[in-house]
Protein backbone atom coordinates (compact mmCIF):
# COMPACT_ATOMS: atom_id res chain seq x y z
CA UNK A 1 0.00 0.00 0.00
CA UNK A 2 1.50 3.33 -0.94
CA UNK A 3 1.54 5.63 2.07
CA UNK A 4 1.24 8.90 0.16
CA UNK A 5 -1.55 8.38 -2.34
CA UNK A 6 -1.99 10.89 -5.08
CA UNK A 7 -5.41 12.41 -5.32
CA UNK A 8 -7.54 10.23 -7.63
CA UNK A 9 -4.78 7.68 -8.40
CA UNK A 10 -5.10 6.32 -11.89
CA UNK A 11 -3.22 3.09 -11.18
CA UNK A 12 -4.37 0.19 -9.01
CA UNK A 13 -2.68 -0.11 -5.63
CA UNK A 14 -0.95 -3.48 -6.06
CA UNK A 15 -0.41 -4.12 -2.36
CA UNK A 16 -3.95 -3.26 -1.34
CA UNK A 17 -5.25 -5.28 -4.29
CA UNK A 18 -3.24 -8.34 -3.24
CA UNK A 19 -4.52 -8.02 0.35
CA UNK A 20 -8.10 -7.76 -0.85
CA UNK A 21 -7.74 -10.77 -3.16
CA UNK A 22 -6.12 -12.79 -0.38
CA UNK A 23 -8.70 -12.00 2.29
CA UNK A 24 -11.83 -11.96 0.16
CA UNK A 25 -11.00 -15.24 -1.57
CA UNK A 26 -11.93 -18.63 -0.17
CA UNK A 27 -10.04 -21.87 0.34
CA UNK A 28 -12.55 -24.03 -1.54
CA UNK A 29 -12.27 -22.32 -4.92
CA UNK A 30 -12.50 -25.45 -7.09
CA UNK A 31 -15.57 -26.67 -5.22
CA UNK A 32 -17.20 -23.27 -5.60
CA UNK A 33 -16.60 -23.16 -9.35
CA UNK A 34 -17.92 -26.74 -9.65
CA UNK A 35 -21.03 -25.73 -7.69
CA UNK A 36 -21.72 -22.86 -10.10
CA UNK A 37 -21.23 -25.02 -13.19
CA UNK A 38 -23.53 -27.65 -11.74
CA UNK A 39 -26.16 -24.98 -11.02
CA UNK A 40 -25.98 -23.78 -14.63
CA UNK A 41 -26.35 -27.35 -15.94
CA UNK A 42 -29.32 -27.97 -13.65
CA UNK A 43 -30.95 -24.71 -14.71
CA UNK A 44 -30.39 -25.65 -18.35
CA UNK A 45 -32.02 -29.04 -17.82
CA UNK A 46 -34.92 -27.52 -15.91
CA UNK A 47 -35.42 -25.05 -18.75
CA UNK A 48 -35.56 -27.89 -21.28
CA UNK A 49 -38.23 -29.61 -19.21
CA UNK A 50 -40.18 -26.38 -19.00
CA UNK A 51 -40.09 -26.11 -22.79
CA UNK A 52 -41.23 -29.72 -23.13
CA UNK A 53 -43.95 -29.14 -20.55
CA UNK A 54 -45.03 -26.07 -22.51
CA UNK A 55 -45.40 -28.19 -25.61
CA UNK A 56 -46.93 -31.10 -23.72
CA UNK A 57 -49.98 -29.23 -22.45
CA UNK A 58 -51.52 -28.37 -25.86
CA UNK A 59 -50.20 -31.70 -27.17
CA UNK A 60 -52.13 -33.61 -24.50
CA UNK A 61 -55.29 -31.66 -25.26
CA UNK A 62 -54.92 -32.38 -28.99
CA UNK A 63 -54.25 -36.09 -28.32
CA UNK A 64 -57.33 -36.25 -26.07
CA UNK A 65 -59.50 -34.66 -28.72
CA UNK A 66 -58.16 -37.04 -31.38
CA UNK A 67 -58.78 -40.07 -29.12
CA UNK A 68 -62.32 -38.88 -28.42
CA UNK A 69 -62.97 -38.45 -32.14
CA UNK A 70 -61.67 -41.95 -32.92
CA UNK A 71 -63.78 -43.47 -30.13
CA UNK A 72 -66.86 -41.71 -31.41
CA UNK A 73 -66.31 -43.00 -34.95
CA UNK A 74 -65.73 -46.59 -33.72
CA UNK A 75 -68.74 -46.62 -31.41
CA UNK A 76 -71.17 -45.11 -33.87
CA UNK A 77 -70.12 -47.69 -36.51
CA UNK A 78 -70.77 -50.64 -34.12
CA UNK A 79 -74.13 -49.40 -32.86
CA UNK A 80 -75.75 -48.45 -36.21
CA UNK A 81 -77.73 -50.91 -38.46
CA UNK A 82 -75.57 -53.04 -40.74
CA UNK A 83 -75.64 -51.96 -44.31
CA UNK A 84 -73.92 -52.68 -47.58
CA UNK A 85 -74.07 -55.32 -50.29
CA UNK A 86 -72.21 -57.99 -48.26
CA UNK A 87 -74.91 -58.21 -45.58
CA UNK A 88 -77.73 -60.54 -46.65
CA UNK A 89 -80.50 -61.89 -44.37
CA UNK A 90 -80.03 -65.59 -43.50
CA UNK A 91 -83.48 -66.57 -44.76
CA UNK A 92 -82.72 -65.26 -48.23
CA UNK A 93 -79.52 -67.29 -48.28
CA UNK A 94 -81.33 -70.51 -47.41
CA UNK A 95 -84.20 -69.84 -49.74
CA UNK A 96 -81.93 -68.96 -52.59
CA UNK A 97 -80.03 -72.26 -52.50
CA UNK A 98 -81.44 -75.23 -54.46
CA UNK A 99 -82.11 -78.31 -52.31
CA UNK A 100 -79.46 -80.96 -52.68
CA UNK A 101 -80.76 -84.46 -53.76
CA UNK A 102 -78.50 -86.36 -51.36
CA UNK A 103 -79.79 -84.37 -48.42
CA UNK A 104 -83.42 -85.03 -49.40
CA UNK A 105 -82.84 -88.79 -49.80
CA UNK A 106 -80.99 -89.13 -46.48
CA UNK A 107 -83.75 -87.17 -44.73
CA UNK A 108 -86.41 -89.46 -46.15
CA UNK A 109 -84.50 -92.63 -45.24
CA UNK A 110 -83.73 -91.46 -41.68
CA UNK A 111 -87.34 -90.52 -41.18
CA UNK A 112 -88.34 -94.09 -41.80
Amino acid sequence: MSEAPMLFDAQPDEELGALLRQHLGGADEAAFVARLRHAVEQADRAESWEVLAGWARPGLVAAGLAAAAIMWVVLTRDIGPPSGPDVVPGRELIAGQPASGEILISAVLEGR
Binding site: M1, P5, P12, R35, A43
Partner: protein, 180 residues
Protein backbone atom coordinates in the same frame (compact mmCIF):
# COMPACT_ATOMS: atom_id res chain seq x y z
CA UNK B 1 -11.08 -19.86 -26.92
CA UNK B 2 -11.57 -16.17 -26.13
CA UNK B 3 -14.44 -14.63 -24.20
CA UNK B 4 -16.17 -13.27 -27.29
CA UNK B 5 -16.35 -16.70 -28.94
CA UNK B 6 -17.50 -18.41 -25.74
CA UNK B 7 -20.09 -15.69 -25.16
CA UNK B 8 -21.32 -16.08 -28.76
CA UNK B 9 -21.74 -19.82 -28.23
CA UNK B 10 -23.39 -19.30 -24.85
CA UNK B 11 -25.81 -16.87 -26.46
CA UNK B 12 -26.70 -19.59 -28.95
CA UNK B 13 -27.65 -21.83 -26.00
CA UNK B 14 -24.37 -23.65 -25.34
CA UNK B 15 -24.39 -24.09 -21.54
CA UNK B 16 -20.88 -25.59 -21.58
CA UNK B 17 -19.49 -22.42 -23.19
CA UNK B 18 -21.27 -20.39 -20.53
CA UNK B 19 -19.82 -22.69 -17.87
CA UNK B 20 -16.32 -21.95 -19.15
CA UNK B 21 -16.96 -18.23 -18.85
CA UNK B 22 -18.25 -18.79 -15.32
CA UNK B 23 -15.06 -20.66 -14.49
CA UNK B 24 -13.00 -17.68 -15.64
CA UNK B 25 -14.80 -15.06 -13.58
CA UNK B 26 -16.37 -16.92 -10.67
CA UNK B 27 -13.61 -16.19 -8.18
CA UNK B 28 -13.42 -12.48 -8.99
CA UNK B 29 -17.21 -12.34 -8.68
CA UNK B 30 -16.98 -14.13 -5.35
CA UNK B 31 -14.46 -11.60 -3.99
CA UNK B 32 -16.64 -8.69 -5.02
CA UNK B 33 -19.73 -10.34 -3.52
CA UNK B 34 -17.79 -10.93 -0.30
CA UNK B 35 -16.88 -7.25 -0.23
CA UNK B 36 -20.56 -6.40 -0.43
CA UNK B 37 -21.86 -9.09 1.95
CA UNK B 38 -20.18 -9.87 5.23
CA UNK B 39 -21.41 -13.44 5.29
CA UNK B 40 -19.38 -15.70 2.98
CA UNK B 41 -22.20 -18.19 2.43
CA UNK B 42 -24.56 -15.41 1.47
CA UNK B 43 -21.92 -14.03 -0.88
CA UNK B 44 -21.62 -17.43 -2.55
CA UNK B 45 -25.40 -17.60 -2.87
CA UNK B 46 -25.43 -14.12 -4.39
CA UNK B 47 -22.82 -15.16 -6.97
CA UNK B 48 -24.87 -18.23 -7.84
CA UNK B 49 -28.03 -16.11 -8.16
CA UNK B 50 -26.15 -13.68 -10.38
CA UNK B 51 -24.65 -16.41 -12.56
CA UNK B 52 -28.05 -18.04 -13.06
CA UNK B 53 -29.63 -14.65 -13.80
CA UNK B 54 -26.90 -14.03 -16.38
CA UNK B 55 -27.57 -17.43 -17.98
CA UNK B 56 -31.31 -16.73 -18.17
CA UNK B 57 -30.60 -13.30 -19.66
CA UNK B 58 -27.86 -14.44 -22.05
CA UNK B 59 -30.01 -13.62 -25.10
CA UNK B 60 -29.98 -9.99 -24.02
CA UNK B 61 -26.17 -9.86 -23.88
CA UNK B 62 -24.67 -7.66 -26.60
CA UNK B 63 -21.80 -9.62 -28.17
CA UNK B 64 -20.20 -6.37 -29.34
CA UNK B 65 -19.38 -5.56 -25.70
CA UNK B 66 -17.01 -7.38 -23.34
CA UNK B 67 -18.57 -10.23 -21.39
CA UNK B 68 -16.73 -9.82 -18.06
CA UNK B 69 -18.25 -6.46 -16.97
CA UNK B 70 -21.69 -7.62 -18.15
CA UNK B 71 -21.62 -10.67 -15.91
CA UNK B 72 -19.98 -8.82 -13.03
CA UNK B 73 -22.70 -6.19 -13.16
CA UNK B 74 -25.37 -8.85 -12.74
CA UNK B 75 -23.48 -10.47 -9.85
CA UNK B 76 -22.91 -7.10 -8.10
CA UNK B 77 -26.61 -6.30 -8.44
CA UNK B 78 -27.51 -9.71 -7.02
CA UNK B 79 -25.20 -9.08 -4.04
CA UNK B 80 -26.55 -5.56 -3.48
CA UNK B 81 -30.13 -6.87 -3.63
CA UNK B 82 -29.34 -9.58 -1.12
CA UNK B 83 -27.67 -7.06 1.16
CA UNK B 84 -30.68 -4.76 1.01
CA UNK B 85 -32.98 -7.64 1.92
CA UNK B 86 -30.59 -8.75 4.64
CA UNK B 87 -30.28 -5.30 6.19
CA UNK B 88 -33.94 -5.40 7.03
CA UNK B 89 -33.56 -8.80 8.59
CA UNK B 90 -30.60 -8.33 10.92
CA UNK B 91 -27.85 -6.02 12.09
CA UNK B 92 -24.25 -6.65 11.16
CA UNK B 93 -21.82 -8.06 13.70
CA UNK B 94 -18.10 -7.40 13.95
CA UNK B 95 -16.21 -10.69 13.83
CA UNK B 96 -14.62 -11.80 17.09
CA UNK B 97 -11.18 -11.96 15.49
CA UNK B 98 -11.10 -8.18 15.31
CA UNK B 99 -11.09 -8.05 19.08
CA UNK B 100 -8.29 -10.56 19.47
CA UNK B 101 -5.29 -8.65 18.25
CA UNK B 102 -2.98 -9.91 20.95
CA UNK B 103 -3.04 -13.51 19.78
CA UNK B 104 0.69 -13.88 19.19
CA UNK B 105 3.40 -13.57 16.56
CA UNK B 106 2.28 -16.51 14.45
CA UNK B 107 2.07 -15.48 10.78
CA UNK B 108 -1.15 -17.33 10.13
CA UNK B 109 -2.73 -15.57 13.06
CA UNK B 110 -1.41 -12.23 11.80
CA UNK B 111 -2.99 -12.94 8.47
CA UNK B 112 -6.33 -13.75 10.10
CA UNK B 113 -6.18 -10.54 12.12
CA UNK B 114 -5.28 -8.48 9.09
CA UNK B 115 -8.03 -10.14 7.06
CA UNK B 116 -10.61 -9.52 9.76
CA UNK B 117 -9.54 -5.89 10.05
CA UNK B 118 -9.65 -5.48 6.31
CA UNK B 119 -13.16 -6.87 6.08
CA UNK B 120 -14.29 -4.81 9.05
CA UNK B 121 -12.82 -1.70 7.44
CA UNK B 122 -14.48 -2.57 4.14
CA UNK B 123 -17.79 -2.98 5.94
CA UNK B 124 -17.50 0.59 7.20
CA UNK B 125 -17.37 1.95 3.66
CA UNK B 126 -20.51 2.84 1.74
CA UNK B 127 -21.30 -0.17 -0.45
CA UNK B 128 -20.54 1.51 -3.79
CA UNK B 129 -17.15 2.70 -2.51
CA UNK B 130 -16.43 -0.83 -1.41
CA UNK B 131 -17.33 -2.31 -4.79
CA UNK B 132 -15.33 0.36 -6.60
CA UNK B 133 -12.15 -0.22 -4.54
CA UNK B 134 -12.32 -4.00 -4.90
CA UNK B 135 -13.02 -3.84 -8.64
CA UNK B 136 -10.29 -1.25 -9.24
CA UNK B 137 -7.48 -2.45 -6.97
CA UNK B 138 -8.14 -6.18 -6.68
CA UNK B 139 -9.77 -7.04 -9.99
CA UNK B 140 -8.12 -4.57 -12.37
CA UNK B 141 -11.25 -2.93 -13.73
CA UNK B 142 -10.89 0.53 -15.23
CA UNK B 143 -12.72 3.54 -13.86
CA UNK B 144 -14.82 3.58 -17.03
CA UNK B 145 -15.83 -0.09 -16.61
CA UNK B 146 -16.81 0.49 -12.99
CA UNK B 147 -18.74 3.61 -13.95
CA UNK B 148 -20.73 1.59 -16.49
CA UNK B 149 -21.24 -1.20 -14.01
CA UNK B 150 -22.49 1.04 -11.19
CA UNK B 151 -24.26 3.44 -13.57
CA UNK B 152 -22.51 6.51 -12.21
CA UNK B 153 -20.17 9.07 -13.86
CA UNK B 154 -16.49 8.15 -14.12
CA UNK B 155 -15.53 11.04 -11.84
CA UNK B 156 -17.75 9.58 -9.15
CA UNK B 157 -15.91 6.27 -9.42
CA UNK B 158 -12.56 8.05 -9.03
CA UNK B 159 -13.92 9.70 -5.93
CA UNK B 160 -15.20 6.35 -4.57
CA UNK B 161 -11.82 4.72 -5.12
CA UNK B 162 -9.91 7.61 -3.57
CA UNK B 163 -12.04 7.83 -0.43
CA UNK B 164 -12.34 4.07 -0.10
CA UNK B 165 -8.59 3.57 -0.29
CA UNK B 166 -7.91 6.35 2.14
CA UNK B 167 -10.26 4.78 4.69
CA UNK B 168 -8.73 1.33 4.23
CA UNK B 169 -5.17 2.66 4.53
CA UNK B 170 -6.09 4.54 7.67
CA UNK B 171 -7.24 1.29 9.30
CA UNK B 172 -4.68 -1.09 7.85
CA UNK B 173 -1.54 1.07 8.14
CA UNK B 174 -1.24 0.97 11.96
CA UNK B 175 -2.17 -2.73 12.09
CA UNK B 176 0.53 -3.61 9.61
CA UNK B 177 3.10 -1.67 11.59
CA UNK B 178 1.97 -3.38 14.78
CA UNK B 179 2.16 -6.81 13.22
CA UNK B 180 5.65 -6.13 11.85
Amino acid sequence: MDDAELARRARAGDSDAFGQLVERYALAARRVARAVLRDDDEADDAVQDGVLAAWRAIERYDPARPFRPWMMRIVVNAALDLRRRDKVRRTEMIPETVESRTMGPDRATDSVILGAQLRAALAELPERQRVAVVLFDAEGYSHADIAALLEVPEGTVRSYVFHGRRALRRVLGPIKEELQ
